[in-house]
């Protein structure tokens, strides 16, 4: 079998893969401003999906819609076969959507470990009265989750800052802790909002490695926003391009790279 045929077969298999999330005709407005108009795309189970576009294209707004922080004015979002109209962010979280933020949104007064343990909140269910005692079942549960979090800490190589308040950490490490916190939720879909913004080359490489590892080892589906085109084209399976709230392209990195409208959007067109 030729290499080309193999590749084609891979494509077909991937196309047949289960769809995890579908976004259909979503529009979002703030006052009179249309942040998103009529956006549709899907995310398949197990893939890395990138959302790119110039500043102000509506990428973060799109993520905010997906995890219930913004409510689209029209359109439908289907996750794991369930369509929803309005939902609160904690409902999205309990369905298995986790995320990191463009401007690090860690709990600054808490230690790295406590931050990551917060991600386990939904998995902890010992009731209030056991919590009062912090012995027996409550403590067992606490330790069980501590072990899970320690695995994540190992994986992200942040053992040495386990007990440091995150407010004191440098930016790159904060981003890593934030990824850890999202991973602690054991999400089905992980939304990463500019995970590599403001990082140097080395930190970017580390972060890429973590993202790919998460995708392969934990089989977590990932949707990410990123401005570094090299990174995006390297690690993502498929790319959506937004501009001024409209979708202008959707496809594999190579297809997107060749698309004239994408080139125009990034390089500008002379009129």
């Amino acid at each position: 079998m030729s290499a080309l045929a193999e590749m084609l077969q891979g494509e077909v298999a991937r196309a047949a893969a289960e769809t995890l999330l579908t976004v259909e005709n979503v529009s979002l407005t703030f006052g009179g401003v249309r942040a998103l108009s009529d956006i549709s795309f899907d995310i398949r189970k197990g893939e890395i999906r990138a959302i790119i576009g110039p500043n102000g294209a509506g990428k973060t707004s799109m993520l905010n819609c997906i995890n219930g922080f913004y409510h689209p004015r029209s359109g439908r979002i289907t996750f794991k076969g369930k369509t929803r109209q309005r939902m609160r962010p904690y409902e999205a979280a309990s369905q298995g959507i986790a995320r990191t933020f463009q401007n690090v949104a860690l709990f600054k007064g808490m230690t790295t470990l406590d931050n990551i343990l917060t991600g386990r909140t939904l998995k902890m269910n010992r009731n209030f009265f056991w919590q009062l005692l912090r012995h027996g079942p409550a403590m067992r549960e606490e330790i069980e989750h501590r072990i899970y979090c320690e695995d994540i800490i190992d994986f992200l190589e942040i053992e040495h800052i386990r007990k440091t308040p995150v407010g004191k950490l440098p930016y790159g490490l904060q981003k890593r802790v934030e990824l850890g916190r999202a991973l602690a939720m054991q999400p089905d879909l992980l939304l990463l909002d500019e995970p590599m913004a403001g990082m140097n080359l080395e930190e970017k490489e580390d972060m890429c490695r973590f993202i790919l590892d998460v995708n392969r080892h934990f089989r977590t589906t990932i949707a990410l926003i990123e401005h570094d085109m090299g990174v995006v084209m390297d690690i993502s399976d498929r790319v959506v391009v937004l501009e001024y709230g409209h979708k202008i392209a959707d496809g594999t990195p190579d297809e997107v790279k060749a698309d004239q409208r994408v080139i125009d959007a990034y390089l500008g067109v002379s009129h």
């Binding site: 703030f30 973060t60 922080f69 933020f101 463009q102 401007n103």
Partner: protein, 318 residues
Amino acid sequence: MDLIYSIFVDPFLQMAGAPDLLVQTLWEGFVGGILYALIALGFVLIFKASGVFNFAQGIMVVFAALTLVGLYEKGVPAFLALALTIGVMFLIAAAVERVVLRPLVNQPDIILFMATFGLTYLLIGLGEAIFGGNPKVMIAEQLYLPKGAVDIKMLGGVVTLQKIDIAAAVIALAMIACLSVFFQYTRIGRALRAVADSHKAALSVGISLNQIWVIVWFLAGVVALITGIMWGARSDVSFALQVVALKALPVLVLGGFTSIPGAVVGGLIIGIGEKIGEFYWGPLVGGATESWLAYCIALVFLMFRPQGLFGERIIERI
């Protein structure tokens, strides 16, 4: 059924039955509201220009009034005492800037807020130590404030307006207008607004933070003095005023912390609301509702507009 009648029908029948009483109550609420607005104005000035929630504004009112009366009692002529008091308020502003604000630049809001708590205690202690804790009489006549009352025949009854109340309303409104113009159209006003938005950005374009803070605290001190004179002339000058000053909080919340017109409208809503509520509905629950009604009115408004009536709509970003 009786209960529903006495809550929803009877008060309105009373209002319609004695419109002159209604007007009298409205007037008293209006004047009370203006005075709340004056206290709130002091808060707004400082909050606008330094982001500090100045809890000490209430005690500054008392302190200014006490200083004025105290100086007069020591034999200083009334207008000289007034000038000296303004000087004292300037000294307080400069001291606050030097001792409290400057070392606390860039601390979280709550820390600055707490520092003004400390200031409150300091001023209470100082005021009582210097002037004694007994209520004093404001030197209204010596300052040529009008006395007595005018009776207006209307709606089949008589509405009594205290002249001092009329003066208070006029002076307060004039001052509010001046301050609005000052904020909007002068160079210092623009600098003040810039500082309120961001300390760092203001510094970077060459605005002197320290100078600005002295100016606003001084302005707030002058507002406090005028409030103290008006309030003192209506009742007397005592530390009890300080609890009344707490009512500036619901006023601020209604007005949205940074808006001068907001403080006025908020003050009027609270002032009129609590007078009307106390007069017509108060007896149903045993009276003396004025201690808490203001807060509940503000709370109800807040449930519908969490940013206050004049505050900008909060768009949450992440």
